[in-house]
Amino acid sequence: MDGSRLAHWETRMVDSYAMRPADLAVFRILYASYVLVSVVPVAAWLPRAPQAFFNPPIGPAALFTSPPRAEVLIGLNVLLAWFAAMLLVGWRTRLASIGSGLTLIVLDAWAYSLGHISHDILLVIAPLVLAFSTWGRAWSVDGAGESPNTRNDTAAGPMCLLAMLVAFAMLTAGWAKATHGWLDPRLKCTFGHLVYHYMFIGRETWGARWAFHLQSGVWWKSLDWATVALELSFFPAVLSRRAFCLMLAIAAIFHLGVLLLFNISFASNVIVYGAFVRYAQVVGIRTLSFDARGCRGKAAVFFTAALAVGLVGALGKHSVAAILRLPADDLIVWAGAITGVVFLAQRSFVPFYRNRLCSPGFPA
């Protein structure tokens, strides 16, 4: 392939990831709401840990030799709540995005300083990448009075980069499994981990109890291979937005399986997959925008309410979702899986040009 054809192909690939500001605005609000309701406070339990448990990976927490004081973590959580509230209303969106991402990195570094990394990195990188997109241009203070559906303002580059990073992350998981026995027909890795999590970690789910009755080696080995195939397929799939969205739909269903069997919720991943959904086409929200005159008043109310929610979490020991006994993470995984099923059904039964959920380009 010569240089000009390669450049043309790359341009087409990147441009296929274009999103309307209105779509990204819905995602921005979902993302910020999730952070405020379910993520804050991060690592509130850490001050109770003795120094003997301190075992950080290489990173910001390893610059220190013991866990921080409670006041430091409270301060960082308040900062995260502040940035997330700014993000919710789209006020200084770029600053809020970068602030949210960096604050999450620092807080997560402390949360993982006892040696366990929860792999919610996509939740961290999404605002850092989308800070350079148009996700603050609609339903926001920054974009007050602007049309949310400007055609020539599509944020294709950051979206393509985000897709690449999602695929990259999946590749690390698939590659590690493929090179550590998951393809070996003599080993049942998914089954083994299920037993390990059930017996040692205490994740005694009804899904695991049901699955233990499935003794077929072929079934469990197929599951191992399917998992590796799914995670490795993301990387080539990123070359085509259609294929990438297909992988996201399958992954969302896969995450529900992981939740039911292992009681491990990858809600943070599912939230980030939501960046690729064309909400405006699905739920008919093409024309809503802040009115320029009433914008600041409305935004102030929303900002105050959002910040209050975040502060309840930041200053307490539990997130607002936990206080309300709302299984927010589980609900997000379920919603993601249902969306994935609907998307796959559309791909299977509806003519492709009518597929609205993750369709390429901007249909008239």
Partner: protein, 184 residues
């Protein structure tokens, strides 16, 4: 955003990150998803699991035994395995000095003093003291009203096999115990 060769750049970054993880372990932040390698592979004879129980031994000889889940209930459940393997397991290195041989190791230790701070000569006493203090508090909660003199973290290697739809321990052997004398 530079659009040229983006795919090749991503692959190169993947290689560099993989090399780094292979050499130093997984850093944070890193663009990585769960690998699920290592423990938890089911072979023909079942899955091998290392687990432990914490025994709060009273001065008069009685003991209150709890599972890791109960012992570490102050912390999120996904941290329990990491805490157990790092801080509650008796290891041959316990009490030995950390030997930093290579220049890279010395640089790493200087920049990231908290990274893999295995119990060394001076740090070990601090860590043991903090563990003793924490276990003393846990003893007051988990064995109230009893005079606990020592905590024993008893480790076992178990072979678990699923028969008839139920995981069962078919073999169990002790692999070591961490003894921590409590403050009185």
């Amino acid at each position: 955003m530079c659009r040229r060769y983006i795919f090749a750049t991503a692959l190169a970054l993947f290689a560099v990150q993989s090399l780094f993880i292979h050499r130093f372990g997984e850093p944070y932040p890193a663009i990585v998803m769960p690998r699920f390698e290592g423990s938890g592979v089911y072979r023909a004879r079942g899955v091998e699991i290392e687990t432990y129980e914490a025994a709060f031994v009273a001065a008069n000889g009685g003991a209150t035994t709890v599972t890791p889940r109960v012992l570490l209930q102050e912390f999120p459940v996904n941290n329990h395995a990491a805490i157990g393997y790092f801080a509650l397991k008796p290891t041959p290195t316990q009490g030995e000095s950390v030997k930093t041989v290579t220049w890279l190791g010395r640089v790493r230790a200087a920049v990231f003093p908290g990274f893999r701070k295995r119990p060394g000569s001076s740090e070990y006493d601090d860590r043991l003291a903090s563990l003793r203090e924490w276990l003393t508090r846990r003893a007051a909660t988990l064995a109230p009203g009893r005079s606990i003199s020592q905590v024993e973290i008893r480790w076992w290697r178990e072979n678990v096999r699923v028969t008839g739809g139920t995981p069962q321990v078919i073999q169990r052997e002790p692999i070591g115990t961490l003894f921590v004398e409590l403050e009185r």
